[in-house]
Structure formats: structure tokens, C-alpha cells
């Protein structure tokens, strides 16, 4: 009988078991998270936690993997779309879904081996990373944006691998007071952030590639994590120089600040 994973045997003889044993949490099952979910199912991950309280809307159909017109009409939850998609690839998967923000089921995320963050705000990233650091969970974060440069749209995105003993997103300058302040000032402004399926696909694929390398070491990752920048206009992925100049260990989350907070 053909082994369904034989084409990825170069990842190492233990890879299939590693994927089967790992618990992966995906926070945000929108344009980026839906891509990630699909790929994890194909690769052979079995234990998945999905966090997203939203339902599919018409404006999601330009990018939400697995979503259909019926889902929009029926108000299907994004986690259920992802779950359906994954189980169609591999019915043996154990998928736990949380139709809410992850913070409302925060204890459930603690036993994830890796968190993949596909959220749409800097503030949300700040919260997830703080928890990931407390419980020594590697975090892979993806996101994209479209902004005007000289009046022309410019697509950009990032994939960041934040490791518990490496620089955090603040160390890397990605989470900074200016970005958080600008985001806070835009709160309540009408209209969603621009999103397109192909950029989400690129970023999600890179995130999944980092995840696989993290777990199997088939190629090997830099010791202090990764910060990749995607230029959606030139279609280039490059390593951000910020990771080169980031402190080797995190200055915001000291190594002894793990577990439940200790108040003095």
C-alpha cells in the first residue's frame, strides 16, 4: 500500500511520527489561517486546535480557503470550514475548535507545541506572544497589509518565528509603540484591511515550512528565530536585517518569567 507521505520522506524517517505527535494551535482562521490549516492536514499533522469566533462573509470569498457561497448563506463558522477542509484530507485528525477569541479559552492553548498566529492586529499579536513566552511555546506569526506608497498600492507581509529563548517581536522592532498607537487610532474606522489570497498563500506556506523545519530539522533554522519580509510587488521574500541586529536573547521576556505570573 502506498504511503501517503512517501513524497516527503526526505524530511526524515521520524517526520510522520513527529507530525502525528505534535499539537498545533492556529489562531485566526481567516485568509492566512485557512491556508495553514489546509497544509497541515496534507502534511500529516493530526492534533490541531483552531481559534476563531467569526463566521464566513461574502467579502471573505476572495481568500478564505475552503469557503463556499453556501457557507456565507448559512453563516458557517470559519473554524468549521477549516475543520471540514482538514477532515476531508485526513479523517483521522483530532481537531478541537473554539468559536471565540483564544483569550476566552486561554488555558487550552498552553499545551500546544507550536502556535501559528494568523491574527489581524498588532495588539492581538502582543497578547499571543506574551502567553507563548510564558509557556515556552514557539510562535509563528504571519500577516499582510496593503498601503499606499507614492499613491500606489504596495503589498507587504511578514513571517516571524518567535522562539522562547530568542528575540521577541518587540526586540525585532515589529511590535513597536508607533504601530500600536497608529492601530489604536484607527480603531472603529470603517472597512477591513486589504487582503488577497495569493499573498496569504505565500506567507502561510512559508510559515508551514518554518514549522516543519522547526519540528524535523530537515534543513535547520537559525538559532534565534526568523523574520522574513515579503514584498508583494516584486514578489520577493527576504530576511529582515532586524533579526541580524536583534539581541540574541529577549530583553522583554526574561527566561525566568515563565508560568503563572509572580506578583511582588
Amino acid at each position: 500500500m502506498t504511503d501517503r507521505y512517501e513524497r516527503q520522506s526526505f524530511l526524515g524517517r521520524d517526520a510522520t511520527q513527529i507530525f502525528a505527535n505534535s499539537v498545533i494551535a492556529i489562531v485566526g482562521l481567516g485568509g492566512g489561517g485557512s491556508h495553514v490549516a489546509q497544509q497541515l492536514a496534507h502534511i500529516g499533522f493530526l492534533n490541531i486546535r483552531l481559534y476563531d469566533g467569526d463566521t464566513a462573509e461574502l467579502s471573505n470569498l476572495n481568500r478564505l480557503i475552503g469557503a463556499s457561497v453556501n457557507d456565507v448563506e448559512n453563516g458557517t463558522k470559519k473554524i468549521d470550514i477549516a475543520r471540514r477542509l482538514m477532515l476531508a484530507v485526513n479523517p483521522n485528525m483530532k481537531i478541537e475548535t473554539f468559536a471565540c477569541e483564544w483569550q476566552q479559552q486561554a488555558q487550552s492553548i498552553r499545551d500546544a507545541d507550536v502556535i501559528i498566529s494568523c491574527v489581524d492586529s498588532y495588539a492581538a499579536r502582543q497578547d499571543i506572544e506574551a502567553t507563548a513566552r510564558r509557556f515556552l511555546i514557539p510562535l509563528v506569526d504571519i500577516g499582510m497589509d496593503v498601503h499606499l506608497v507614492n499613491g500606489r498600492p504596495h503589498i507587504s507581509g511578514q513571517v516571524i518565528l518567535s522562539l522562547p529563548d530568542g528575540p521577541c517581536m518587540k526586540c525585532l522592532g515589529f511590535l513597536n509603540d508607533q504601530a500600536l498607537q497608529q492601530e489604536a487610532e484607527k480603531y472603529g474606522a470603517a472597512g477591513g484591511r486589504p487582503q488577497v489570497v495569493w499573498t496569504n498563500g505565500v506567507l502561510a506556506s512559508i510559515a508551514v515550512g518554518l514549522l516543519v523545519d522547526l519540528l524535523t530539522a530537515w534543513n535547520g533554522l537559525p538559532p534565534n528565530g526568523q523574520y522574513l519580509h515579503f514584498d508583494g510587488n516584486t514578489h520577493e521574500v527576504s530576511r529582515s536585517p532586524r533579526i541580524q541586529y536583534a539581541p540574541p536573547t529577549c530583553v522583554h521576556f526574561p527566561g525566568d518569567a515563565v508560568g503563572e505570573p509572580v506578583f511582588q
Binding site: T131, L180, H252, F263, Q264
Partner: protein
């Protein structure tokens, strides 16, 4: 970290005040802080954020949304800090104040 003197001052309003840091920012937990008259509930756990975060120079977080005489814009919902979920309204307080002055300035919004 908050100095012992500043923490002691805060304890004049909340005897069980204690501090912790997360993400490079200092926080002071104020268990069962009594809120201004007219608030419901009359007291609740609060978390005073003494560093710039989410676009504010400082911020006061609450364990639950509080109703007050003046309705406030509770634009912070389920914000996860120090392994609890918090809620906060939009209210700007200038920097450079002592922690107790910062706390009192934030509570002004509920008067």
C-alpha cells in the same frame, strides 16, 4: 519596577496592591479596587499599566466592564495580560505622573 515608595502610595488606595512585569512593561495589580460612586460593580480587580501599551502612555484595565455615570468607550475587550483577561476604556492620561496620580487620573473617567 515600581519603587517601594510608589507601591506603598498605591497601597493607601488598595492595600493588596502588588506588581509584576510582562513584555518589558510594569503592571500593578489592584485587587478589589474601590471604584468611584455610581459605578457598578462598586469594586473590582484592576491592573494599572505603567508603560506605553496599545497606543496609550498608561492604562487602567478592569476585570470586567464597569458601568458608570458617564458612559465610556470600552475599546479594550479580553486583553490578555499576566494570564488574565482585562477590559479597558479609552482614556488618555499624560505621562510623567507618579503611579498613584496616574491611577487617580484614570479613575476620573468613571466619576
Amino acid at each position: 519596577m515600581v519603587s517601594a515608595d510608589n507601591l506603598q502610595e498605591l497601597r493607601s488606595l488598595c492595600p493588596d496592591a502588588k506588581q509584576a512585569a510582562e513584555g518589558g512593561i510594569d503592571f500593578v495589580l489592584l485587587p478589589g479596587l474601590n471604584l468611584p460612586a455610581g459605578c457598578s460593580p462598586p469594586s473590582t480587580d484592576c491592573l494599572l499599566c505603567l508603560g506605553p501599551r496599545d497606543g496609550y502612555d498608561s492604562r487602567l484595565f478592569f476585570a470586567q466592564v464597569v458601568s458608570s455615570r458617564e458612559g465610556r468607550n470600552w475599546n479594550g475587550q479580553n486583553i490578555r495580560i499576566l494570564e488574565r483577561n482585562w477590559f479597558a476604556y479609552s482614556w488618555r492620561v499624560p505621562g510623567g505622573l507618579r503611579p498613584i496620580e496616574t491611577l487617580i487620573a484614570h479613575l476620573q473617567a468613571l466619576r
